[in-house]
């Protein structure tokens, strides 16, 4: 190892969020990821915006990620639909996203899932 420069890889929040979103969307029963408030409201009247909301890490497509040291916390907000069990969809997203993001980045990943809406139309 001597003689080689020390390489430290830092994976940013946006990278984690994007990878998480990519895998979350592929879980059966996930119809859509719910874009974070600030994102969804772009282009809407100012009065609609809530300036007090979290302005921390960049949200990507309904996924919010924060990397701290060797671990990451990911929050996935999703829409599912009738025909799937919310509990099972949530668990599958947690499993898939934690495994895939972990494998890709080497981080310890905790995945929070919020099922925001269940589509009822068939």
């Amino acid at each position: 190892m001597s003689g080689l420069p020390e390489v430290r890889l830092h994976v940013g929040d946006a990278v984690v969020a994007r990878v998480a979103a990519h895998h979350a969307r592929r879980v059966p029963g996930v119809v859509a990821l719910r874009a974070d408030l600030t994102q969804a409201l772009l282009g809407l009247a100012d009065s609609v915006l809530h300036p007090d909301r979290d302005r921390g890490a960049l949200p990507a497509d309904g996924v919010h990620a924060e990397v701290r040291g060797g671990s990451a916390e990911v929050t996935v907000t999703l829409v599912t639909r009738l025909g799937f069990t919310c509990r099972d969809v949530a668990q599958a997203v947690q499993r898939e996203v934690a495994a895939e993001v972990g494998a890709y980045t080497g981080l310890d990943v905790l995945v929070r899932v919020v099922v925001a809406e269940v589509l009822l139309d068939r």
Binding site: R34, A35, L37, A40, L41, L44, A45, V48, T77, L82, F84, T85, C86, R87, D88, A90, Q91, Q94, R95, A98, L110, V111, R112, V113, V114, V115, A116, E117, V118, L120
Partner: protein, 190 residues
């Protein structure tokens, strides 16, 4: 004729100006006082003079472009209280379900049944009393309206069954208790 109504809307003769005006617009004949009263006559003449134009204005029917409600609904959906959630059982970390979304699923289940419609649907998730851990079982309080003539006892029994089943199957939370109240009846032939 200079009309100087007082703030209460009385004509100088003491008559209620709005009433005189409304009657003139409606084409009702003037009574004895109104025929002889210059204030009433002037008000009625103004009313009739303006009437046709006002009617045309009222008939113009500007409609809002669909984009207005679309924008509102985007904002409404993003504003949906994300903190108001139920906890889903999961060994993999925190999993939550919007309480409003869960209620919509249960109401939908009821709506799909013949002769009954869901109105209020409240879902409470009690902590496990023995362990103190957050439990997952829910208590559901639902109010329904029923079609006039349906057998209330059997329909509420079915509602209870279907709501419990939907809780387990669609939401994935055990349903501990379902309270049903029939709050109104509806029908096609009243």
């Amino acid at each position: 004729m200079a009309l100087t109504p007082d703030p209460d809307g009385r004509l100088a003769c003491g008559r209620d100006a709005a009433a005189v005006w409304d009657r003139a617009v409606a084409g009702e004949p003037a009574d004895a006082h109104e025929r002889g009263c210059p204030h009433c006559t002037a008000a009625a003449a103004d009313a009739r003079g303006l009437g046709a134009l006002v009617q045309r204005l009222a008939q113009e029917d500007p409609e809002p472009p669909p984009s207005v409600l679309d924008r509102v609904m985007v904002a409404v959906r993003t504003e949906l209280r994300p903190h108001d959630v139920l906890t889903l059982p999961s060994p993999h970390g925190p999993a939550r379900l919007s309480r409003a979304a869960a209620a919509a699923v249960l109401r939908h289940t009821v709506d799909a049944m013949a002769g009954v419609r869901a109105r209020s649907c409240r879902i409470e998730q009690a902590d496990d009393t023995r362990s103190g851990d957050p439990g997952h079982a829910v208590d559901v309080r639902i109010t329904v309206t029923a079609r006039f003539g349906v057998d209330l006892a059997s329909v509420t029994a079915r509602v209870r069954q279907m709501v419990a089943a939907a809780g387990e199957q669609a939401l994935g939370v055990p349903v501990r208790r379902v309270d049903i109240e029939v709050v109104d009846v509806f029908g096609d032939h009243w």
